[in-house]
């Protein structure tokens, strides 16, 4: 029990350190960029308003020494005060809070799709290794692995929205339609399908390759030979003995993948006008509203850090052989 406490404490400390580094990075990046930090943070549109710039200067202590500025900045970040968007006339934190649920819905759906489809495709490929089915699955995942995410999205829109007119091309729900209850859920699901497929496709390919390789590796181990020697059917051997052990690297990968999914959501939300934090970041990019952009970067990193912490803990629960360090 004491060991677990120590393990948690060290992981927690590491996570806080990562967040501190990101806050420092944001702070120094703005100051390394060409131009006045206050004007950079205010963005192009804000620069017109001298009063707002002056307010930013006092708020961030930009007229005081660097070390004081840094202290003020870290204090703000620690209390989740990520600045104010002049363009949108709202605090950055509340803008992010407003857009976060859509991103979570998108990324979690994409993640479930990627794991479910990837693991089953990888398993099927491993069962048919060297045969026709394996070749098809392996080729498909090679292709999905080499395709730019945003382009997959555009091609799906061309096929399913423009050509076949089956699914909506953009947005979160039908504009103007006052759906309630189940009709609303169905409406959002229809809008969610293409973006989630786009975001999940690349990771599905990764999981398929990972699962296939991992199953083939575990199949060579002695305990699997024993299971086969006992006369168990191939399917029982795979599902009961191999898969359980082969899925461990898949779990580790899930933590690493969180950052990729959040980064990918920036592209996917841009393609599909999905109202999440990725889209918020893209709009901020166009309007040069950098306090929003940096705020989204910080919160995205925070989410990734939390996911990593949770997978680390899960990993030790799933595999008791892992030493707690």
């Amino acid at each position: 029990m004491k060991k677990i406490g120590k393990f948690l404490a060290s992981r927690l400390f590491k996570s806080v350190l990562v967040l501190l580094m990101i806050a420092l990075f944001n702070f120094f990046l703005v100051r390394a960029a060409p131009g006045d930090p206050a004007e950079i943070l205010a963005g192009q549109s804000g620069a017109v308003d001298a009063e707002f710039i002056a307010k930013l200067r006092t708020e961030f202590g930009l007229d005081r020494p660097m070390i004081v500025q840094l202290g003020q900045y870290l204090k703000n970040v620690a209390t989740f005060d990520l600045g104010y968007s002049y363009r949108q006339q709202a605090p950055v934190t509340s803008l992010i809070a407003e857009h976060l649920p859509a991103t979570l819905l998108l990324t979690i759906t994409a993640f479930i799709f990627a794991v479910a489809a990837g693991v089953s495709l990888g398993t099927q490929a491993a069962l048919r290794v060297g045969k026709w089915g394996d070749t098809v699955i392996t080729t498909f995942s090679m292709l999905a692995y080499a395709t730019p995410l945003f382009w997959v999205g555009l091609m799906l829109v061309l096929l399913f929205s423009v050509k076949l007119e089956w699914l909506p091309a953009f947005g979160y729900q039908t504009v103007g339609a006052q759906f309630t209850g189940l009709a609303h859920v169905m409406d959002v699901a229809r809008h969610l399908l293409l973006p989630a497929l786009t975001l999940g496709m690349f990771y599905m390919a990764v999981y398929a390759r990972l699962t296939r390789a991992s199953i083939l590796e575990v199949s060579q181990l002695d305990f699997v030979k024993t299971a086969r020697a006992k006369g168990l059917s191939e399917r029982t051997v795979i599902t009961r003995h191999v898969l359980r052990n082969a899925l461990l690297p898949v779990i580790t990968y899930a933590g690493i993948q969180a950052g990729g999914l959040i980064g990918g959501s920036l592209l996917v939300e841009t393609v599909f006008a999905w109202p999440g934090i990725g889209r918020l970041a893209f709009d901020a990019l166009l309007q040069r509203d950098y306090s929003v952009l940096l705020g989204v970067f910080f919160i995205a990193s925070l989410i990734v850090v939390i996911v990593n912490l949770v997978t680390d803990i899960l990993y030790t629960v799933v595999d008791p052989r892992i030493e707690l360090k």
């Binding site: 960029a33 730019p148 980064g263 990193s301």
Partner: protein
């Protein structure tokens, strides 16, 4: 060398990849001859579909030739990917080598740094870097290099850690060779094969990263890369499918070929691993 070529050629995908990459590089080099006009130049009516009026791949919203855009885009895309990979290899190998060779505090700090980079959303980091430092060729190369060096450094570090205890390195130490000389002439040549394999995969992911940045409008505003053309096509997706389809196919083919080459190199340079994989 003969053995290596023989092993490489056994991997059919790798051979196909080399052929495609030669073709793309040829297109990039011959862009001036095939399309004597500038890719930004208006050559025809806007929104010409492919195969009409001697525009093989159609024209864009202003009447610029998509074919020319792809040929000149090949030049810029490959150049950006190659330079950013070179920068990232130089940095990643140096950091990994120093960290693996010397160990201790330096190593701890480097490992912490690598872990940090592997935790944060790297694409977001690249976007933030380019946006705030203002988009240009230099900032794009810098951003791609910043997010792609850590896995390589980790790899090189591991190689150095295992090689530095081998007899030939210890012999060199006893012979009184300087650390720099041991790193450069004894260990580095022996740890190059994983670097070569990751090199080809890194060029592939640099192309994907560059195209994603350009797609978001974060490329150099004067550079017509493949991602830029796709980004410009987004608003006219319904009217001009060819604007987004062809550059995307170019990216897909190039990245796929580089990945296949990487696999073939891996099989050829690590024969033990290759045998394990096929059984």
């Amino acid at each position: 060398m003969k053995d290596f070529l023989h092993a490489f050629c056994r991997h059919k995908g790798g051979v196909a990849g080399v052929i495609v990459i030669i073709a793309v590089a040829g297109l990039a080099l011959a862009a001036n001859w095939i399309f004597p006009h500038d890719p930004w130049e208006i050559v025809n009516a806007p929104f010409m579909p492919p195969m009409t009026d001697d525009t093989l791949l159609g024209t864009d919203t202003l009447g610029r030739d998509i074919g020319a855009g792809i040929a000149y885009g090949a030049r810029l895309t490959l150049l950006l990917a190659a330079v950013s990979t070179a920068v990232s290899i130089l940095f990643g190998v140096s950091v990994g080598a120093i960290s693996g060779f010397y160990g201790g505090r330096v190593d701890q700090a480097v490992v912490g740094f690598i872990e940090l980079f592997q935790t944060i959303p790297s694409f977001f980091l690249a976007v933030v870097l380019v946006a705030i430092l203002t988009p240009s060729m230099t900032t794009v190369i810098f951003a791609i290099a910043v997010v792609s060096w850590p896995p390589l450094a980790r790899l090189v570090r591991a190689e150095f850690m295992s090689l530095k205890n081998r007899e030939f390195v210890q012999a060199a130490m006893l012979a009184g060779q300087s650390n720099a000389r041991i790193i450069l002439t004894q260990i580095l040549p022996n740890s190059l094969s994983p670097v070569i394999v990751s090199g080809s995969l890194m060029v592939a992911s640099a192309i994907l990263l560059e195209s994603a940045l350009s797609f978001l409008g974060l490329g150099d505003p004067n550079a017509m890369t493949w991602g830029y053309i796709i980004g410009a096509s987004r608003s006219v997706l319904r009217d001009a499918w060819w604007m987004s389809v062809f550059p995307g196919v170019a990216i897909l083919l190039t990245v796929l070929s580089l990945n296949l080459i990487g696999e073939a190199l891996n099989d050829a340079l690590n024969p033990k691993l290759a045998r394990k994989r096929t059984t």
